[in-house]
């Protein structure tokens, strides 16, 4: 076959809905531009209301588009031309992409409402909403684009926006470091995306996904098996970065340094969802061998991250590990070929994970206020407001946050009648159908139990019992009495998100995901539980986890517990960073040092040459000085003599003018006479 061919995709006219979708895409871009450049010149409340109302409008438009789309419609227009190369950009509107659009805009709306209150008095507020707008518009770009090339651009923009938001409080050293870490791990993975993109363009001649799908399904282009495998490997690697899979997931727990609404958005709808979304879109590019890798990586990630959450005390990090673990489930689903299940879990997870983050955020917000108020009373509490060891007792003081948390918690650990149960069952069922995946299935089932364990533990320590901060610092007792429900702007998103975790929100059948009503996957959902034993098994494992946590939690030594080497190892992210250090960074430095020595040797050689050159230059200088310059000076002297003689000939006397002219005329006369003869 001949590489470097170029397939000119057919241009397709845009439907009315495409312009609506483009409006949805460009609205946050506009918000970004306006808010970024007006900056501090407009007031905080104006800024918040503008951004939030724009997102609200986007949500309504998304609903409209979703309800209007029936069969997939594609628009494709010319983007740019270079010589014979014509790049196009395309937009695909199907019930799959538009339902994702609804999910993203809905979560974004909730997060915006929440942020209006949560971020109100925080530092650097003027940059928060523009960055958020950038984040959302980039994500919408990924959802709607039909061209892998465009997706890559938005992919990078998502990376940039996440970098800006994770490091939002960049004055904090940890926040800056976390942003850098997220950025670098993502970039390392993105390199794979670039290479994959290049390979796809070289061998298939186009990056339009719709076109690629037909090219591959009709086998009209035969690509060497090695290349096809490389493309799949590279694509999967790049999504491992963005979707935080083993071994790239270490950036995600650190990313909790960002504001809580950002974490909610990042975990639910934008950043980590992007990787899964791209894999779902590029499903046809995955070869068989890669599916196996996906299932195993997913299982390993799910298990490892869940184990890490067991001994974690940071309220947000627990949720971060649970996200990594849940994304592992989605990877497994894609690996088994059941992309619809992956998408279904992505959608349900988006809602309940956003709910979890926001309800935990509500508690953190209160904790933060306690810290601030005592600071106003000249008492500085040097405590981590995210630490669950200092919380407790919020069930009574903040019931809305508590019940919202419980609803989302139930969805996450897979209690029946909640959405998480349905989607998790679907994934487990599709794993069970393939007997080669029995070990990953076992790991997934174990993870279900561990998830139930660590979530119950978090529930217990955060909301039940006594308020331990007041026990440690008696000065906070006064503050404890003042704790009350948060502002309605925080509570409304919590209530809405809690409602969305109920199973009828996505499916009317409480135990089977076969009749999903609005969250349309690219293909109809297959599977669900084939046998009655699977839900029974998972429910009982969940219950075991919950009970175990309940009984263990009260006994858990919060401080000074004996540190086994195993837990140290777990808390150090299983040594992934150390491995990166040993495998990449230290060898790079060694090579660099070696090259420095080499450079010094080269320098010596160059210096020797330079000395020689200087020596030669001295000789040449001598020649130049005495020989050439002498000649030059002679010429200048000659010209000067000639010039001054002309000048002196006619020094201002009209007689001399005339005599000069006459002499010349006489000379010419003589010249003519010579010509005549």
């Amino acid at each position: 076959m001949n590489p470097l061919q170029h397939t000119d995709p057919m241009l397709l006219p845009a439907h009315f809905l495409h312009s609506v979708a483009l409006t949805i895409f460009f609205l946050p871009v506009l918000t970004f531009v306006i808010l970024f450049f007006t900056g501090k010149h407009i007031s905080t409340s104006w800024r918040s209301w503008l951004a939030t109302s724009v997102v609200g409008l986007m949500f309504i438009l998304s609903l409209y588009v979703h309800l209007s789309v029936d069969v997939p419609i594609i628009a494709r227009w010319s983007w740019f031309s270079m010589g014979t190369l014509h790049m196009t950009s395309g937009m695909v509107l199907s019930s799959f992409t538009t339902s994702m659009l609804v999910v993203v805009t809905a979560i974004a709306l909730m997060v915006h409402l929440y942020s209006m209150e949560y971020m109100k008095d925080r530092r650097n507020h003027s940059k928060f909403f523009p960055y958020l707008a950038l984040f959302i518009s980039a994500m919408i770009g990924i959802i709607l684009s039909d061209s892998l090339f465009n997706i890559f651009i938005f992919w990078e923009l998502v990376g940039l926006a996440s970098y800006l938001l994770i490091g939002f409080w960049y004055q904090k050293k940890e926040a800056a470091a976390a942003a850098k870490k997220a950025f670098l791990y993502n970039k390392a993975a993105d390199t794979a995306f670039v290479i994959a993109l290049g390979l796809i363009f070289t061998y298939y001649g186009t990056t339009e996904l719709t076109l690629l799908r037909t090219l591959i399904s009709s086998s009209s282009i035969l690509v060497p098996t090695g290349i096809a495998i490389s493309i799949a490997v590279l694509l999967v690697l790049s999504t491992f970065g963005k979707s935080a899979q083993f071994p790239f997931y270490v950036w995600l727990p650190d990313a909790m340094e960002g504001p809580t609404p950002v974490s909610a958005l990042l975990h639910a709808a934008t950043m980590v969802a992007a990787g899964i979304l791209v894999l779902i879109k590029c499903d046809f590019l995955l070869v068989e061998q890669m599916r196996w890798v996906l299932v195993w990586t997913g299982a390993i990630t799910a298990l490892l991250a869940a184990i890490q959450a067991i001994r974690c005390y940071d309220s947000k990090k627990i949720l971060a590990f649970s996200t990594v673990s849940q994304i592992g489930y989605m990877m497994m689903a894609i690996g088994t070929g059941n992309t619809s299940a992956a998408y279904f879990h992505l959608g349900t997870h988006a809602f309940f994970k956003a709910g979890l983050f926001l309800s935990v955020g509500a508690v953190i917000h209160t904790m933060h206020h306690i810290q601030q108020n005592s600071f106003k009373n000249k008492i500085y509490l040097e405590v981590d407001t995210l630490d669950i060891r200092l919380m407790g007792g919020f069930r009574k003081t903040m019931p809305i946050a508590f019940y919202a948390y419980v609803a989302c918690y139930a969805a996450l650990i897979g209690i029946p009648f909640f959405t998480g149960f349905l989607s998790k069952e679907t994934i487990l069922a599709s794993l069970l159908q393939n007997p080669t995946y029995s070990i990953p299935f076992g790991m997934a089932l174990t993870t279900v139990g561990i998830t139930a364990y660590y979530m119950t533990r978090q529930l217990y320590w955060m909301f039940l019992g006594d308020f331990r901060l007041a026990a440690l610092y008696p000065s906070c007792k006064e503050e404890q009495r003042k704790i009350k429900e948060n502002h309605w702007l925080i509570n409304i998103p919590l209530i809405v998100l809690a409602c969305t975790t109920l199973s009828f929100f996505v499916s009317f059948h409480p135990f089977h995901a076969s009749d999903i009503h609005w969250m349309k996957a690219p293909l109809p959902i297959v599977g669900g539980s084939t046998s009655i034993y699977l839900p029974i098994a998972s429910i009982s494992i969940t219950l075991i986890g919950v009970l175990l946590a309940w009984s263990m939690a009260s006994k858990e030594q919060l401080y000074n517990w004996k540190q086994y080497w195993f837990w140290t190892f777990v808390q150090q992210n299983y040594g992934i960073e150390k491995a990166v250090q040993f495998v990449f960074i230290i060898p790079s430095f060694l090579i660099a040092r070696g090259l420095t020595y080499l450079d010094k040797i080269i320098d010596m050689w160059v210096n020797a040459q330079a000395y020689l050159a200087v020596l030669l230059a001295h000789i040449v200088y001598a020649i130049d000085r005495f020989l050439i310059e002498g000649v030059l000076k002679g010429i200048v002297f000659l010209i000067r003599i000639v010039g001054s003689s002309f000048r002196s000939l006619i020094q201002g006397q009209v007689q001399s003018y005339i005599s000069t002219t006459l002499i010349v005329l006489a000379l010419m006369f003589w010249w003519y006479l010579r010509q005549l003869h």
Partner: protein, 493 residues
Amino acid sequence: MIYDVIQHIIQSFPYAVTEIALVIAFLVLMLIDMIQLKDKALWSVVLTVAVAFYGAGEELQQLFDRTSFQEVVYFQHLFHRTPFTLFVRVLILLLGALSAVYLYLSPMGVYWKNRGETYLLLLAIIAGGLISISSYHAMPLLLGIELMSIASYILVAARITAASGEAAIKYLLYGAFTTAITLFALSLLYPTAGIHIFHPDWATQFLESSFPFKWLVLTLFFSGLLFKISLFPFHPWTPDVYQGSDWSIIQIIALLPKMAVFPILLQWAALFGAIDVFVGGLSLLVLATIIVGNTAALHQSNVKRWVAWSGVAQTGFMACTLVMTGDQAQLSLLFYLIVYLFSLPAALMILDYFESKYQAKEVDNFNGLGKKEPIGSVIFVLSMANLIGLPPTAGFYSKVYIMTTLWSSYLEQDEILYLILLLTAVAATLVSLYYYLKIPYALFFKASEKKTILTSISGSTVLFVILISILPLGIFFQPEWLSNWLRVIVAFI
């Protein structure tokens, strides 16, 4: 018989409508000068520019008329009209308008712009140029040249200072001398071939004539013309006259005569370009002009003398094209003329400004002024680049056209003189680099003697200078724009 003659004369008037308009403007200006008007200077300059534009419009209308392709001889074989003369007349009128604007804006020219006779004499010079370029016969040519010359003498003298008086009397004496030679040559030319010098048969008659000294006579006849463009050996007046005049006057006597006289010489060059004696004699003069102009300009410390000598050097470059034949040579001359004459006022205006503000008469007075006058200095550097022939200015193409034409002429005719001219021109360009960059060097690299606050050039001056500088810059990026146009015009010579 008489009736026919009168009829012919009446029919000739439409061709002279510009000259008539100039005469009317002349009279009106005289009236304006006599009654004490409040904004006399403004009225005068507006009238001058208006009549110049009116004339240019008339000429352009005739030029774009299809009937202008044919030569028209009018006023009893005294004048003729071809597309080429029409084109040159347009250029003279536009340059005249530019001169009037310069007069009004010149920082040193307060004396001149409030005196009515300045504009009268400017109109006379424009009229002289028009008459001489249109003439078909030697007499109107001589009259036109004399009209320009005499007006110039008065302009130089009109300041009534010792310096200007001295310059004017030198100018007059030398001019009278050249006119005398021309008249003498005319009397010798009359029996040789007659003096209908632009008649198609005249050249054949001249060539067939057996008069042994006919070429010398022709050279002598040219002396009046060469005096106006200050070609060697008729150049010596230039530095002294320039030194004794103000910048407003220099720009008139340096630009307008060149615009009129070079095209006249070009018409002859087209006739005699293949004749060895003509080419040989003229080449020697051109060669001498280039050498004399460039070497003398090297060591001038006085700015006006330096401008004068560099003008002589530029004349030498332009005159290179007169010794060649062919459309390319004619095109390069017109290109050079337009670029040079329409961009030189910018440089003169800046020098004018520096003299009015810093009494900068010597090159040393410019030391360190670049930091105080950034805009003016940068534009000055640009116009110097234009005169040297460096990119990004149209002067680059002017020089390139002339040198490539010399080279191709050398290749075609294998005449060693062309090669010598080419080599001299290249060497002279290198030498000119030195003297043209003398003032920019002083502006930017030498320390200032006096401490003055940072000021910037006045608004109207900077506008004038920038507007003029657009031309060489624009033509550099699109030289075909001008040369394609000229290619059409030179076909009619």
